[in-house]
Amino acid sequence: MDAKTIIAKRIARELHDGDLVNLGIGLPTWVANHIDPAITVHLQSENGLIGLGPSPDPKDADPDLTNAGGQPVTLQAGGMYFDSVTSFGIIRGGHVDVTVLGALEVDAEGSLASWIVPGKRVPGMGGAMDLVVGARKVIVATTHTNQGKPKIKTRCALPLTAYRQVNLIVTELAVLEVREDGLHLLELHPDTTLDTVRALTEAPLHVGTYTMMEG
């Protein structure tokens, strides 16, 4: 399995029957492909729907039905539309069970930087700041490193998306939980070693009992 598939499959296991889930643009959207078919997960798109379905055939694309990235999508049975005020009321009000986002950096306090590289890239925060503050569980989906450099820091250097809101970090090498005292190793990928993960993680890791990720 490639890194993205490892991450997406592992995060899919965090979702429960009936959960309302928001998947960020990019890697997080892959999670949808790995949800246990025995459960029903409701996907929200913050531009205004619950019940996000798969992408349509290009010939069936409806310009009035897009996701938060502006791409054509479909609506599943039982889904519905609403406006941006309602959408973010649902998000900030704690009604979203899980949000999955990418990261530029994530740190030992559970702070996340994902929306700006000053002087280089200023795309804007979009709905990410609300999602990270509002969702009951915040999962960061990220490759462990970027061009060999650790993305999991003691403290984020980039401007934050949110302060101390991340609960779980899932990479292709490890699953880390954010607790009051820092990052705890929950799972290790069988293709790597604890020493490698420690070396590729800037933040200190608490290592007690841990299990192996799916190979």
Partner: protein
């Protein structure tokens, strides 16, 4: 009844002035009133403050106004898919205020609903907090966010009935309904007009609507 509510280009142009603020509905141009934006372009109006979820694309949505140099200030939640907006921001020919999307929605709602502001936890400890007051309520910190209104709002509806009631198409709803509450004048571009709407399904009541342009038949 507020006038006849039917909009022609001349009437629209008469309401435009340099330096005005304009709310534009839509999300990555889904639900954006493109024809009203074209009419704005034709009018030559400039030095605009535009309030919109995003910067659109260089050739669509508010991106057309930005690319034509008509916008001096943009208040939006992201500009990532419009590289022109990004480079103008870098060159300081466009002032961009980035606001979290949910906060932007609440700020516009606050204006439309007569609130003096709202307290949100979104953006604490981030650049979104810069220049704003922090308040504690029951021991938890919040950012005080102020109302945002505009001189005019440009709204894209699916259907407008003869009274001016509106509904919207799927995710083209997005910021349109709330913007229709928060501007001094509300201009609507509707895909179609109907006789009447089920009173249970009206999203924007006619009393909020000033002028309606129907896509196919009106105005030109």
């Amino acid at each position: 009844m507020k006038a006849h509510k039917k909009l022609d280009k001349q009437t629209f142009h008469a309401h435009l002035f340099d330096g005005m603020s304009v709310m534009v509905g839509g999300f990555m141009t889904c639900g954006t009133p493109e024809r009203l934006i074209d009419w704005m372009l034709e009018s030559g109006v400039k030095n605009l403050t535009v309030i919109c979820n995003d910067a659109g694309y260089p050739e669509a949505g508010v991106g057309k106004l930005i690319a034509a140099g008509r916008v001096s200030t943009l208040i939006a939640s992201h500009i990532g898919l419009n590289p022109i907006a990004g480079s103008m921001m870098g060159a300081e020919t466009l002032a961009v205020t980035l606001v979290p999307q949910g906060t932007l929605a609440e700020q516009i709602r606050a204006k439309g609903a007569g609130l003096g502001g709202i307290l949100t936890p979104t953006g604490l400890h981030t650049p979104a907090e810069a220049g704003k007051s922090r308040l504690e309520v029951d021991g938890k910190p919040y950012i005080l966010e102020r109302p945002i209104g505009a001189d005019i709002a440009l709204i894209k509806a699916r259907e407008a009935d003869q009274y001016g009631n509106l509904n919207y198409a799927k995710t083209a709803r997005n910021f349109n309904p709330v913007m229709a509450t928060a501007a001094n004048l509300v201009f609507v571009e509707a895909t179609c007009r109907s006789q009447a709407m089920d009173p249970e399904t009206v999203i924007t009541p006619h009393v909020l609507v000033d002028y309606i342009l129907t896509e196919v038949s009106d105005g030109r």
